[in-house]
Each structure stands twice: as structure tokens, then as C-alpha cells.
Amino acid sequence: MASIEETLAATRMFRNLTPEQLSGVAALGEEAEFADRAKLIVEGEAADSFFLIREGFVALQTEAPSGAITIETLHNGDPVGWSWLFEPYLAHFDARSRGVTHAVRFDGAALRGRCTHEPGLGYELMRSFASVIVERLDATRLQLLDVYGATVR
């Protein structure tokens, strides 16, 4: 299995980080394993971590009276969680494992502290997560367009 640093270096969203920056982030990461139906992130709780899925299947969900609704699923190589970067640092959705998921958990709170002293790192992390948010927003919009309905426009 690749080291955390190697994994970060191979992840597209972090391609702009320097080796030192990658090293710094990797130092705040640790391996984590989640059993079937275990939650990586709990809606409403403090968002102090983010994850990189090594291998597994994670469903982003929200609770409705009818039960949990999955709004998106995340897979190998995907990051999970960006609320650690944005005030008030509270999770917006649940992230629940389907089957066993191996991931790397990063200490978001500590990373936030580092960023206030190292604006360069902060800027790069913002860029990285912004790119993910843009991708997710595009996908969400596509889902909203309901393209499979009978309408042309």
C-alpha cells in the first residue's frame, strides 16, 4: 500500500502542492477503516476532519422523515468533506460507508491552524478544495437539470 504522502502526490486535486506542502499535510493524516454503515462524517457535528478514500464506497446522505436519502456517492480516490475549511466548520451532510471503506483521515483543525501561519499552504488547499467543489457543483447542476426527462431544453 502506498504511503499517505505518495497517495496525496498521486491525487489530482493536490497536484499544485509542493513536496514540502504535501509532506506537511501527510504528517497530519492517519489510516482509518470504517465498517459497513459506519459514518465518516455526522451532519451537524464539528467538521474537524476530511478524508481521502483509498478503497470503498461512501454515501453522502441527509435524514428525511422517510429515511436517509443519498444525494451522491463517493468512490476510490475521492475526497470526503470540505466543511473543515469554511466557517462555522460544521458538517452539512452525513457520510456513511457502504461495505468496508479504507480511507486516510486528515486533521482538519490542525491544518486550519497551520494555514493561518502559512498563507501559501492555505491558498493551495483552498484551490484544491475549490476545484472539487466546482466539480461537485457541475455534477449537481447536471442532476438538477433532470436531463432524462422528456424535455429537449
Binding site: F57, A139, Q143, L145, Y148, G149, A150
Partner: protein, 271 residues
Amino acid sequence: MTPRTHRVVSRRRETADTWTLALESLPGQRLPLFAPGQFGMLYAFGVGEVPISVSGASTALDPLRCTVRAVGSVSSALCATAPGDLVGLRGPYGSTWPLAEAVAGDVVIVAGGLGLAPLRPAIHHLLAHRNEYERVIVCYGGRSAAEMLFVPELEEWRGRFDLDVDVIVDVAGSDWHGKVGVVTKLVELAAFDPDNTIAMMCGPEVMLRFAALTLLTRGVAKERLYTSMERNMHCAIAQCGHCQFGPMFICREGPVQRYDVVEPWLKVQEL
């Protein structure tokens, strides 16, 4: 061209408004031979004709299958037929999926919603000639589980070791435990060699553009993406003018076209 009478052998409901009809020819006659990607014109007595996706070519064991969505008077009449009813059919028309060009390489099939129907004969061909191709990957997206086509067959395909089938829905019900998101996600996750891949896409125009972008980002060359265009056909023989898309008659220069050929025209508003 005049339709020939055919008999509806069976019909299967795929979704709330989509049915697959199985057709056979009358004694002494032969079914037209549809190559993957080609379409036919189906005639409902007194109501009219519509172009239909041939979703399964006829073989010695299987009747011809076409998948029809009930959106107008003709398609609704066709979807209301019962086994034993007679309809008119003429064809084959149009261009075909590039199955010969794809030989010795990977094949990525990206389908959205009803778009799986015209791709199904291509998948059958790939499976029937499996040794001629490298990896075969099917990425299928739909609005929800209830709006997917050919579910039993999809499940069967997923069980094969020589085929990668993955499905994803835009909207998950409480009983959906699969992937949720856009079909481009499946393309991102798929393992194929971009330098040696032909992609065949079919679905709503918006989906096509995003799927194409994802494939191009992965490194598949523009000339190796193919799509099936949809327009309304009246004559199906490039003489009525309805199916024109820029300079192309979709009934003749399509429906299957190379994506780099249609893409600039897709950008023209109200073409």
C-alpha cells in the same frame, strides 16, 4: 418505401412510459436486418409512423426488439399494442456504431436514460465477438432506478467477468443502494486505455456534452467518440427535410455520428 406488416410477439414495460416490443415477420417473409445503431419506422394503423430505436436485432432465437417511449399519439398507440397485434415496419435506415473500428481496443459505452436502447445491439455484438475487443465497459446513468431500461439484462451483464457494467442514478430512492450522481462519474472511475479506446455515447444532449468532456479529459481523441443523434423523421430517406441538423440528414448521415463532427453544430442555438 412502404412498411411491411409485422406481428407484435410480446411487449415488456421498461419504465412508466417506455415499452420494448418484440416483433416477428409474417409467414413467408423475413425481418429486415438492422445493424447496431440503425433505426426503423414503425407504423400504427391510421395513426402514423415514428422512428424507433432497434434495441435488439433479430436472430434465429430472438425476435426483433424495439424500445418505444409513449410521448405522442403514434408512440402511445404503439405502446398500447398487445401480443398478436399487427403493425407496419420499414427499414433499416441510418448509420451504424463503429464496431469494426473498435476492434483490438477498449470500448467504453456511455448511456443515459433511453440512450441505452440504441446501444443495446452494440453491446450484444461486442459480447458475441468478445475476443475481438479488449476491455468492454458500460456506464449507464438514469434519473432513478425506476427509469432505467433493461434492468434484468443489466443485472445479468454485471455478473459476467468479461464486461464492466456500472450504473448510477441522479436521484436515489430509499431503496437504492447503488451509486448516486452523474454518469460522467462512472466514466471517471472506469479503467480503460485512452490511447486505444472508442467511446459510444447516447443520451440527452446535455449529458453527451459532459460525457464527451470527461472522455476528452481522460485523453480519448475527439475522433474516437461517437454518438447517436435524435431528430424527428418523417420519410427516413433524406427527402422530407425534417431530420436536418446543419448539413446532415440524421436519417442518413446519422443517427450514429462522430462526436467531433456534430459538436460544433450542437453549439449553434436553435439549429
